[in-house]
């Protein structure tokens, strides 16, 4: 089992979500977050350009069984790119996942994912 964490641009959430549904990854958690990589995206404030030190991003967390890892990662990479890839498109982290428990039934492991 792996935990996949993807940090993407907020405007790509919808496309990434559709791409994940297409490869039958239906259980995801998405949250708003702020962060900073290489990208800069200035706002305007009374004629002044303001470069925020932290930018809005979306963080997606998906727990998957090993066979789904490649498909999930490919789906995210395919859908989260702007114009074939620009700075700020985001990152994906793949982490080992020790266990997963479904609260309702108490089942453990792969079947709970």
């Amino acid at each position: 089992m792996k935990l996949i964490i993807a940090i993407i641009q907020p405007d790509k959430l919808e496309e990434v979500h559709h791409a994940l549904v297409d490869v039958e990854v239906l259980r995801i958690t998405a949250s708003r977050c702020t962060g900073h990589g290489q990208a800069e995206d200035p706002d305007l404030y009374r004629g002044q350009e303001v470069k925020p030190s932290l930018l809005p991003k979306v963080r997606i967390e998906i727990a998957v069984n090993d066979v789904y890892v490649a498909a999930t990662v490919d789906a995210i990479v395919g859908a989260a790119k702007h114009n074939g890839g620009v700075i700020g498109d985001g990152k994906i982290f793949v982490l080992p996942l020790d266990d997963c428990i479904r609260i309702r039934t108490g089942e453990h492991g792969g079947s709970a994912v």
Partner: protein, 455 residues
């Protein structure tokens, strides 16, 4: 480069306008007396030598003018709350931009086009009204035989109606238009659709004295509703509609906006009596009654249909009731307001459900609420009039149908021409990428809500 060219063209146009106004304005001899604006009922008065300003009416008209302007930020909040988070500023900017753009156009030539002397019944014009020159001092405007208010008050009061009408349309194509295209569109819409319509029905044009339109059902709500429908159909649905769920970002703001609209509507309707007396009281009373009845009707329908009363439903009912009573405000008794409130909500509810089935994307239901309730009010008022005019019920019903038909056809056809023109030249529809990223940041370089942003 393109931007520079655009700026040059804009500056050039403004320059030309100013030149034209100053040259022609001076060439025309100033008329001796300011022509009398016609009241809603179409009564023209004689001019008496020494007019005394009616302070009571003037005070109420000043309040009304202020109240109607308050409806525009109210509309901004109403619409702004209904769109997605990334489009809240872009949507509110549509209403506020109307205040800026129409505010200027109205001063330069809008009032002259609406309330100047009629040119063959088609459009008004009076050089003395250009830049409100002749209104700045002078004898005041007459309504009936004895009511005199400063002419500027009447011009400003009417100007607020001109502002809110194009702002209403913006709801139909919310979340998917470019700001520049929108600005050009509403400027042209105001000049080519609102001003002629306003003149035809209120300013002495060919429909004046026929269709009863007390405070703007035909001129404002039907024309804006029809324009919204045409724009929504031509520009197409938002990306992902109706498959993707699109949630309102802030219904709290929408409710506050609807509250401001209800309050502002007292100025809108009761102010349209241009008096401070019995008819003002009648208009104010039926406004209150229709709004309440409309709101109650809507949540009762929802109770049967969905088993839950929704906040947006209650707000929609308020608007349906208010729009339906607008053309009728001074001319129907309280029970008539209840009838129109119920009918407004019934038909609007049906229209909104039908929209879902037909699948076109009139995003914030400009046609479904303003268009439909406007038509219901304009036709329905004939059945509940306080007193039937001399020409009889059937004739009046025909006049009402004629007013509605003229407004729908004229607004529909000219809007279609305008929207195609603006979309092909300046560009109105937002591209996919900008639409996905949201109007706030793409078009305005800002974010509406910083609450979730740590900086």
């Amino acid at each position: 480069m393109a931007k520079q060219k655009y700026m040059t063209v804009c500056l050039g146009l403004v320059g030309l306008l100013v030149c034209a106004v100053s040259v022609f304005g001076q060439a025309t001899p100033a008329p001796g007396v300011i022509p009398t604006p016609e009241v809603v009922a179409g009564v023209v008065s004689d001019v008496t030598p020494l007019p005394q300003i009616d302070t009571g009416t003037t005070a109420w008209m000043l309040v009304s003018t202020t109240l109607v302007l308050l409806m525009v930020p109210g509309l901004a909040m109403f619409y702004g709350g209904l769109v997605r988070t990334k489009n809240v500023l872009g949507t509110m900017m549509h209403s506020f931009a109307a205040m800026a753009i129409i505010g200027v156009i109205w001063t330069v030539c809008g009032y002259a086009m609406c309330f100047g002397d009629s040119v063959g019944g088609w459009i008004g014009w009076d050089w003395d009204f250009v830049l409100l020159k002749g209104l700045d001092s002078g004898p005041g405007a007459y309504f009936g035989d004895d009511i005199v208010i400063p002419h500027l008050v009447f011009a400003m009061f009417q100007g607020k109606f001109a502002i809110i009408t194009p702002a209403l349309i913006a709801g139909a194509f919310a979340e998917r238009v470019r700001f520049r295209g929108y600005c050009v569109f509403i400027a042209l819409w105001s000049l080519l659709i609102y001003n002629p319509l306003c003149h035809w029905i209120w300013g002495g044009g060919f429909l004046t004295g026929e269709a009863i339109d007390f405070a703007g059902g035909t001129v404002i709500h039907i024309s804006a509703g029809m324009a919204g429908l045409v724009c929504a159909l031509y520009l197409g649905a938002r990306r992902g509609y109706p498959k993707t769920a699109m949630h309102p970002n802030n219904l709290v703001m929408t409710m506050m906006g609807a509250g401001l609209l209800w309050v502002g509507w007292f100025g809108f309707n009761a102010g349209s009596s241009v008096s401070s007396g019995m008819q003002t009281a009648q208009a104010l009373t039926v406004t209150q009654i229709a709004a309440a009845t409309g709101a109650l009707t809507w949540i009762i329908i929802e109770g049967f249909h969905l088993k839950k009363a929704t906040s947006l439903g209650l707000m929609s009912g308020i608007l349906a009731g208010l729009v339906a009573i607008t053309p009728a405000a001074g001319d129907v008794p309280p029970y008539g307001a209840m009838v129109l409130g119920v009918a407004g909500s019934l038909f609007c509810y049906a229209a909104v459900v039908l929209k879902g089935k037909l699948g076109y994307d009139d995003t914030l239901d400009v046609f479904g609420i303003h268009g439909v309730a406007g038509i219901v009010g304009a036709i329905g008022l004939t059945f509940v009039l306080r007193s039937i005019p001399e020409h009889g019920f059937n004739m009046q019903l025909w006049y009402q149908f004629k007013g509605v038909g003229v407004s729908m056809i004229y607004s529909g056809v000219v809007t279609l021409i305008l929207v195609v023109l603006v979309d092909k030249t300046v560009g109105l529809r937002l591209n996919d990428k900008a639409e996905m990223a949201g109007m706030d940041h793409t078009l305005h370089g800002e974010h509406g809500f910083g609450l979730l942003n740590l900086n």
